[in-house]
Every structure is written in structure tokens, then in C-alpha cells.
Symmetry: C2
Subunit: 366 residues, 2 copies
């Protein structure tokens, strides 16, 4: 099958820095190629892929100082992809640009499917989705759909994000510390993680880049104020170890040796890739019941889900009762790239009804 | 001819507040209707028009507190317009959304023309325009094109903006003060206007809204800092009268009774509607040579163009030598709605080659 994967131009595919969407697009693209599909990837020119790469920009935009406005780059990306779609180069266009392809999809004979990677609880979105009832979309958790439940969105399927199982080594024996991996921002709950670790009497290792000092962006400014005002005073007694930003290569070390991943979020996280990464290493998760958490974590099987600091602290003390082999097995079964690619093939062939005869020599790893 | 006019959704058409683009779209739309065309206007639902109005949003977005992100509204606007274009409802789509329609135009059988209303000297834009060499665009001054001179843009024509000549009464006798009308921001040069007025020994009336105290937007914050740090200290001696923000109804009073409009800008203004408004009232302009100024003002005929504060002050003292009737006559000839509509008909029929037989009963006011 001739598939166009359309990625945002802000990070390369796969990403060199933080970039959940680009990571998932990369895993999906490579696995679809491996399964015999003819895949074209629209992404920044510094991306790496076995698919045919059509560069939308020369390098990932975060590398360029002079980028002032993201709008021209959305237009460039969509223009490149749909000009070729118009000329009949693909059987399906798979967009990862939020809703941005919707107006074009309505004009193009080649069908489009969009995976929604972000949060959907923003006040502008119901107005938008109500205008595009024909646009087929994939959610990355069932919970992600909640804010649009009053709108007639054409949900095709939920496909969970995959993690790179092969690179996330399973560690059958846990260490003695709790791990936090993610941005330092109020909704991610690092302050809560620190309080919970203290209550539980356990050390906490925090892998996170410090917020930038760029005060012109209100989100970054809020993160910075949160770090300076809330987090720093909590770091004084030495039970918390700040290890800075880590790359993919360092994740198995941090996650695999942890007693548990702490994921005490305070927002409707649409998926939460780090939970799946921890499970792949055999490490269970102690998390708050927000967003996708109850879908990704089976309470009592791959982790424990609580609410208050005290409850979460108690769960950290009891987490050794969770079987690490089960965590790994569940991750392989539910969050492998093979599973994600099979599920997207289901979207293309079943929900969208595209003909299987467009396929070539599909190899299923199952 | 069946024409779609596509306006941004942030202001109504015509605007109730500042909104140069929406004002021009309104004048063009009403005049095209008057000339017998079948015009559909895509704009916010609180717009007023003799054309068929397709609301893209219920009310202009500036009225809504909960608008966080402009992107969904661009998608809604483009989706509404091009779904109908796809169904063959128009002979031409005329977009006023910067470059946003370019990817859609490439997929639609109905031809699109875009009028570029904004500045083009932003670093991201050459990269964008290089990707859309087939997109036909109209500039609002020849000078506006300069930053893209290295890129193969398909310029169709320059069409100057129109002002509402009928509502801008001609005043054959000038008053004794200088007028400033525009935003309070460094590039508009209010500080320079105040210094020039003092040097010339003439009173200055300033019609401008004070910058908002919203510090989350870096542009607004810079304007506020400019007002507090640069402008306020210049207001102490009483030669400057701040009259606040004015509406259309008050413009003839302020502009028509002025000795001259001061337009000492420090940026490449793509058109500068207030210059044409002043001329329509019979009031000449003293301006700096930036952007469109030498195209809109004929030095020695409808105003005087200088550079330094001293030169501009001398020109203010000499401005009574400019004939006010000539200013009015030039405005009627070059900046009337009839002239703008005729010029856009030229774009549709000549540069785009659309068949005139799609017209109905066109009435030319010439």
C-alpha cells in the first residue's frame, strides 16, 4: 500500500530532543516499511528513515534561530503532501498535524486519516470539529476523546502509541528509588512527586530539562515560575537527585533500575509515553487517575493508581508486589511497534475500507 | 461573475475596531455587488453586507474571551470556503488570509487569487513563497513586494487599498494643528511626531488607543513599554492633545480640520490607509520615506516626504503650499472603491483570464 506519513516540521523524525509525536511517527513509518508498504515520509530534511523522505524544511525548525511564525511551515508541509496526493501518488494520507489537514482532505480524492496526538480539552476545538464531521480521526486513548463527546467526530479507532521495545531492556530486578521523567511544569506534578517520595521515605531521581529563561512565551514563563517558586524550595534536603535531561540511550538505565515510575499528573494526559517506556523496562507505575492513566496502567497488575499524596506514598511502599515480568509482557503485547502498525493497518483496511490489493508482500511479525 | 471573498474571522466586515483588512474587504465586496456580481462573503456572523454572508464564526473572535488559538479558525474559514468552491459555487475565490489558501488553491479547480495585506519582510516568508510559485497574488503597493524580490512569486498586479470617499468629507480650509492617527508603537513613530510638532511650533492631536496592559503578548508588551518609557515623558508640556481611539465617524473631523497628517513611520508600511483617508479630506501628508509612502504620496503634490526631525518640521511649516483640492482629487481618482473594484475586475478578467461571460449586468460608475 502507498502510504504518506505527514509529520510536523519542528522536530526531526525520529526526534533528537523531546518530541513524542515525531518518535511515534518514526516507529510507525519504519515498521510499515518493514511490513512491505511503500511509505513516503514528509518531515524535516534531517530526519532518518527507510521510507522515501520528502523534506518539508531543510532541518528541524527548532534548530533555526530565525523562525518567527509556525504558520508558513504548516502551509509548506501541507502543500508538499497534498500536491503529490492530488497527483495520485498515494493510497492514503496519514496526517500527524492535528486538524490542519481537514480542509485539504475534503478536496482530495485520496482519503486522509489523522492521528490526534495532543490534548483536546481546549475551548476552541468543539467549534472546529463540529465543522468537519467527515474527517476521520484516530485517538491515542479513549479518554482523549472525552472533551469532544458532544460533537459528532468521526472517530475511527483508538491506537495506543508504541515504544521501542527492543531498545528498552527488561530488568527483572528493581532498584530502590523512584523515577520521574518529563517536563517540569505544574500539570506534570513534579512537586507532588517530591512530596510523595518524602512521605514514602524513598529517594527520587528526576530526569528533566530545567525550564528555559525565555520569558516571552507565557507557557515557558509559567514553567519557570513553577520551578523557581515551587520546586526549588523542595530540593533543599537532598532526597531528590536532579539528573538533567536524558536521551533515549539513558532511559533503560534510569527507568529499568527504578522501583517505580512516579506519574502524579494533574491534567488529562492523552497518552503518556513514559508509562509505556517504564513498563517495557519491567518497572511498574504509581500514577494519578487523570487522562489515559487507567487505560495504560492496569491497577494492581502493572501499577497502582491513587489520588492524594498519602495514598500515592503508600502505593510506592507497596509497589514491589507488582510483578515486573508482567509489566514487560503487557508492554510487548500492547505497546510494541508491531502492534501499533497492525492496528493502523486495521484503520486503513477496515475502518477506511481501502483495498488490500494495494498491498505488496506484507510480512506480519506476529 | 460568482466571486467568493474570504475574510479573516478576527474582526467583523466592516470592522467595529481597528481592522484595515476587514475594512478593505467590506468596501470591495459592497462595490462588487453594486456592479452586478454575485458575491459570497465568508466572514464572522456579525458582519454586515449586501452580498450573501456565510458565517465562519458566530461573532468576530476578538469579542470572545475563550479563543486561545487562532489555528482552528483558519481551518474553519478555509474549510467553509473551499468545500463550496469544490462544489462549483464560484468562478473565483478571492482570499484575504495571507498565504493560508495556497495549499487548497492547488487542489481546487476554481482559481484563487490572494491579496496580501501584511508586511512581507519576515524571515520565514521567502522559504514559503518559493514553494508556491503558482499561487497568484496581489500586492497593495509595489514596495510591499521588495522582500520577496529574490523569489519567483506570481505577482498579478498591485491594487491600492480604497477608502470610503463618500464618508470622508472634503474640507477646503485647513485648521492649524497636525494630526496623528494610528497605533502607539515604535514603528509608527509617535515619538518622532511629537518631536517634529514641537520643532515646528505646531499643536499635535493624537488619535490612538493606549496600549493594553496585557503583558503576555510580547508585541503588546513592547508597545506598552514604548508608551510608558518614551511617549509619556514627551507629553508633559501640553502641546500634545491625546484624544483616544476614534471611530470612522470621527475621522473627517480630526483629519479634515488638520493642517497636515504626520506619518513619520519607521517600518516598511505596506500601504498606510490613513494617508489615503487624509487626502480624501483634502489634508496633505508629511511623511518619512518608508514602505509605500512614495507611492501613496506625490512629493510636492499631495504632501512632503522627508527624513530627519528637522526636515519634517520644516515641511510641516511649508505644508500650506500644498493644494487641498488636489489632495481630494487624487484620492478620488486613485483610492476610491470604484477604482479598486475596477482594478480587481482587471485582475479577474485580464491577469487570471476568467471569462467575462460569467458577469451579469455590470454597471461601471466611470
Amino acid at each position: 500500500m502507498r502510504i504518506a506519513q505527514v509529520a510536523p516540521p519542528f522536530e526531526s523524525v525520529p526526534p533528537t530532543r523531546y518530541g513524542g509525536t515525531e518518535r511515534v511517527v518514526s516507529l510507525l513509518t519504519e515498521e510499515l516499511v518493514r511490513r512491505g508498504h511503500d511509505v513516503t515520509l514528509f518531515a524535516s530534511g534531517d530526519s532518518t528513515t527507510q521510507a522515501r523522505l520528502i523534506p518539508t524544511v531543510d532541518t528541524a525548525l527548532w534548530r533555526l534561530d530565525e523562525v518567527r511564525d509556525p504558520l508558513p511551515y504548516w502551509a509548506i508541509t501541507l502543500g508538499e503532501a497534498y500536491r503529490r496526493a492530488r497527483d495520485g501518488e498515494f493510497d492514503v494520507v496519514h496526517s500527524h498535524l492535528d486538524f490542519q489537514a481537514f480542509p485539504l482532505a475534503a478536496l482530495c480524492e485520496t482519503p486522509t486519516v489523522t492521528t490526534l496526538h495532543g490534548r483536546l480539552d481546549l475551548p476552541d476545538l468543539p467549534r472546529l470539529y463540529a465543522r468537519f464531521p467527515e474527517a476521520g480521526v484516530v485517538s491515542i486513548s479513549d479518554n482523549q476523546r472525552t472533551p469532544l463527546s458532544e460533537v459528532g467526530v468521526r472517530w475511527l479507532r483508538t491506537v495506543y502509541n508504541a515504544v521501542d521495545i527492543e531498545r528498552l531492556d527488561f530488568n527483572p530486578r528493581s532498584g530502590d528509588y523512584l523515577a520521574y521523567l518529563g517536563r517540569i511544569s505544574p500539570e506534570k506534578g513534579l512537586d507532588r512527586a517530591i512530596r510523595v517520595a518524602k512521605l514514602a521515605g524513598l529517594p527520587l531521581k528526576v530526569a528533566a530539562r530545567l525550564p528555559l529563561k525565555d520569558t516571552s512565551n507565557p507557557v515557558i514563563r509559567a514553567d519557570r515560575e513553577y520551578y523557581d517558586g515551587v520546586i526549588r524550595p523542595l530540593l533543599r534536603d537532598g532526597q531528590v537527585e536532579m539528573i538533567g535531561e536524558i536521551g533515549d540511550a539513558e532511559k533503560p538505565e534510569l527507568l529499568g533500575n527504578a522501583l517505580a515510575l512516579l506519574f502524579p499528573i494533574d491534567w488529562p494526559e492523552p497518552f503518556g509515553l513514559v508509562m509505556a517506556e517504564a513498563l517495557a523496562c519491567g518497572t511498574p507505575v504509581v500514577a494519578r487517575r487523570r487522562g489515559s492513566v487507567p487505560e495504560v496502567i492496569d491497577h494492581g497488575v502493572t501499577g497502582l493508581i491513587g489520588e492524594s499524596d498519602e495514598e500515592l506514598a503508600g502505593q510506592c511502599q507497596a509497589i514491589h508486589q507488582i510483578d515486573r515480568q508482567t509489566c514487560r509482557d503487557v508492554a510487548v503485547r500492547r505497546f510494541s511497534t508491531a502492534e501499533m502498525a497492525r492496528s493502523y493497518e486495521g484503520v486503513y483496511f477496515e475502518e477506511m475500507g481501502l483495498p488490500r490489493n494495494a498491498e505488496r508482500a506484507v510480512v506480519d511479525a506476529a
